[in-house]
Each structure stands twice: as structure tokens, then as C-alpha cells.
């Protein structure tokens, strides 16, 4: 088994004790979906909860002397970080699929299922997950979970603070061109889905790549001390 696969497997074992509680937590957003009569709300709230799980591996590392395991294993810092990022990305993708399926089922059952909402919710969920986790992971590498857990809430605070501001700015802007463009897209759902998915994927990959490079640098500098 390659070092990266083994590291990925190790990350899975770190989070294994939390499997049951994660599954239970991921069911709660279905209530949001039903309450808002919106599949996209169910998906994005699920991804919002998934962002919290990105910290669990760091929580486990801080227990006792568990972090020493990385000094014993025959892997370098890059592989160590790569394994964690890959695990977080895969976990995010699995959670997204899980969210889409369950929220869609609730939507069908509740009579509010709409395909464009699935697309919108998935793209938004993927983007928000990528952005927030990309900010969180380097913080955890730099400060450890105990000191950095405050930072896990900064993205949520930013959204709460910036969303009203963005709305106010948008109201004053001449958005005619943007409206025309959005209308064209909404009239072509397939085009919207393809373009949206492509954009979300590229942005997400870019965010994770930048975040990964930062984390490797942080870990290497930490080893010097």
C-alpha cells in the first residue's frame, strides 16, 4: 500500500470513534430542509455541519501523545498533510452525496423537490465547505486544535457580518447585466449545472491547493522548533 493510501487509512481510523455521532448529526439538516421547504437549504446546512468535522482529526492528535505517531511512521510532512487534505476532501464529497440523496428524498416526500435546487445547493455547499475548511486547516496546523478552535467559527461570523453588507451593496449596484446573465442561465438548467459545477470545482481545488501549501509550510516550520 502506498504511503499516501496508508495515511488516508490512518485518518479514517482517527475519525472512526466519531462515525455514529457524525451520522446522527447529519440527519438534523433534514429538518431544516422540511421547515424551509427547500432541498438546497438541506444540502447547504449539511455541508455547514460537515465543516465542523474537519477538526476531528486534529482533536484526536492532541489526545495524549497520539501526535507522536507521525514521528514514528515512515512518512514525511508533505505526505502527512496530503493525507489529511485528501481525507477531508473525500469526506466532504461523500457528505455532499449523502446530503443530496437525503434532502432530495425529503423534498420528494414533502412535495417540494426541484432539480435546480439540488444543483444550486450542491454548488453552494461545495463552495462554502471548500472556503471554510481551507481557512481552518492551516489554523489547526499552526496552533493545534485547542488554541485554534475559536478560528473555526470565524468563517461563520464572517458570513453573518458580510452577508447583510453584501446585500446592501448589491441593492445599490446596477445589476441589469448580471440579471440578464442569470436569467439566461436559469433558462438553461443544463448549462447552469455544467458551468456551475466546473466553476465550483476549479475554485474548490484552488482553495484546497493554496491551503495545502500553507499547511505544509507551517508544519515544516513547526518541526524546526
Amino acid at each position: 500500500m502506498s504511503a499516501l493510501k496508508s495515511t488516508l487509512r490512518l485518518e479514517g481510523y482517527f475519525i472512526k470513534p466519531f462515525f455514529k455521532s457524525i451520522l446522527i448529526l447529519l440527519v438534523f439538516p433534514l429538518a431544516f430542509a422540511f421547515g424551509n421547504q427547500s432541498v438546497s437549504v438541506g444540502i447547504t446546512v449539511t455541508m455547514g455541519i460537515a465543516m465542523l468535522f474537519a477538526s476531528y482529526n486534529f482533536v484526536q492528535e492532541e489526545k495524549g501523545n497520539v501526535a507522536q505517531i507521525f514521528g514514528v511512521l515512515p512518512i514525511d510532512e508533505k505526505t502527512r498533510v496530503k493525507g489529511r487534505y485528501l481525507f477531508v476532501v473525500l469526506a466532504g464529497l461523500i457528505t455532499l452525496v449523502f446530503a443530496v440523496i437525503l434532502s432530495s428524498l425529503v423534498g420528494v416526500w414533502g412535495g417540494f423537490f426541484a432539480a435546480e435546487e439540488v444543483v444550486l445547493g450542491s454548488l453552494l455547499g461545495m463552495l462554502v465547505f471548500s472556503l471554510f475548511v481551507s481557512i481552518q486547516l492551516p489554523m489547526f496546523y499552526k496552533y493545534g486544535y485547542s488554541k485554534a478552535r475559536f478560528f473555526t467559527f470565524i468563517p461563520y461570523i464572517l458570513v453573518v457580518v458580510l452577508a447583510p453588507t453584501a446585500t446592501m451593496i448589491a441593492k445599490d449596484m446596477d445589476t441589469q447585466a448580471l440579471n440578464n446573465w442569470m436569467q439566461t442561465l436559469m433558462q438553461n438548467p443544463a448549462l447552469f449545472a455544467v458551468l456551475g459545477a466546473a466553476a465550483a470545482l476549479v475554485i474548490s481545488l484552488l482553495l484546497f491547493f493554496i491551503s495545502y501549501r500553507l499547511s505544509v509550510g507551517i508544519l515544516k516550520r513547526k518541526m524546526k522548533n
Binding site: M1, K16, Q60, K63, Q68, V72, P74, I75
Partner: protein, 282 residues
Amino acid sequence: MNNMLQVKGLGKNYPTFTLSDITFTLPTGYVMGFIGQNGAGKTTTMKLILQMVQKDSGEVLFMDNPVSAKSKQQIGVVFDSSFLLDDWKVKDIEGIFAGFYQGWDHALYQNYLSRFGLENTKKIKDLSRGMKTKMSLAVALSYGAKLLILDEPTSGLDPVARDEILEILQEYIQDGTRSILFSTHITSDLERIADYITFINKGHMVYTGLKDELLESFYIIKGGNNALSGGQRRKIIGLREHSTGFDGLVHAQDKDAFAGMLMEKPSIQDIMVYISKGEDAQ
């Protein structure tokens, strides 16, 4: 003779502690005891060897090559406290570690589990301290490691468990192709299995070489009150004076200066205590 591990001029600076010029060589096929007081720098040295901490100076060669992540394919490590997650079960451990090591031997690992009485369904947190050490040792011994680095693996263990672990270590080096670096406060364990001793104190070297040479290099001197001249006092390491007399450690080449006084052969523990005390007094 081939050298398994060469540590040359290893150094690390911390705000309140400095490890300087740590130099020793562990030949292939031998056991080296690594001794020193708490806080002397033993664990720091081991972490520097394993690149868990970056050195400020010196070099470390494993089988004549600089230590790298790849080197750890052949290095087994046991720390005094387990690095296994409490919630893992014994049956999870092979799944976690086996994939990392090209030389992983499933049959050998299962044999150690059976020999150590480790049940697959037990969680790590439900294992006693001794069982956790055996668990870590089972992993370290199961992928053909050429070098074992053990940081106080027997501390806190009962005599039976310690004896069992020492027996396993003696079996491990029997074939002459492997080596062990073993830090411990239980110096009687080293008197049993160590061939070489490296002694550090307050971050610097005190001695490195054959255990028997170390033991033959010193004598314990004992005598009554007011029996010492100024010259004799200066030759004594870690002098202890009490109401009934004195005792201390002297180099073998100085023993003639103490003719007529009681002389005893020291143990490793005696040497460690007297030298540490002597350095504290300076």
C-alpha cells in the same frame, strides 16, 4: 564492525535548555543503554534522531546514511507513553500500521499478540500500562526493523513484565544484525542486557563506550570523618559527607591516592548518581 547508528555533534537549543555536542556510535548487533537524570535530554536526543524535532547542529547516520522518512521503514520505536488512540481496538492496529511498512509480517505480529496475551476486541484504553507497552513493542517488532529505539519502555512495569520484555529484546538482537538504543532509569535492566552505555547530564555528554569499561573506570570510596586531605577531596566525584563518614566516586586511575580506605565496585546507578551530584555541586 558496521555501525547501525552514528550520532555526531548533535545539538538543539531551547530557551531554557541546550543539548550540545551529543556524540555516540551504536554498532550493529549490540544494545546501548542511554542514561541520564530526568530532563537530561534523553528523549530530546531520541526525537532528534527520529527527526521529530529538527536539530540545530550535528548529524545522524542510520546504516551510514542520513536519517530520512524512508529510514523509518527499518526503525522501530517505543515511547514511554503510548501513541495509540485510546478508542482504537487491538484488532485495528495492524490495519493502521501494516500498510506503511514494506516488511510487515502478519504472522509474526499475530504471534506477538498471542504471546503477549493481547485480545483483539480490547480497546487500547482498557489495556494496562504494561500491555500498552507490549502492544507498541509488537508493532515495532513486526516489520523487520534493524534498529529499536526505546524510550523508557519498562518504567512503571512490574518485575515480571519487565523481565518478559527484556527477554524479548535479548531474542531480538541474537542474530547479530540488529541493534537497540534503550533509555531507562532502571539501570539494573541495562546491567543485564546492555553492551554499551551513553550517559548524558544536563544536555551534555558524560560518557559513551562499553558498559564494562564504564564499570571498571570508577570505584566507590568510603571512609570515616576527617579522613580526607584537600588533594583527595578534589579527586572525589559527588562527595557525600555525613555524621558517620563519607562516600564518593573516584576514577580508577586515582584509586592509589585512597589506599587504606574502603573501595567498592560501583553499579551503573551509583556512577550516574555520583556524577550527577558532582556536576550539580559545581
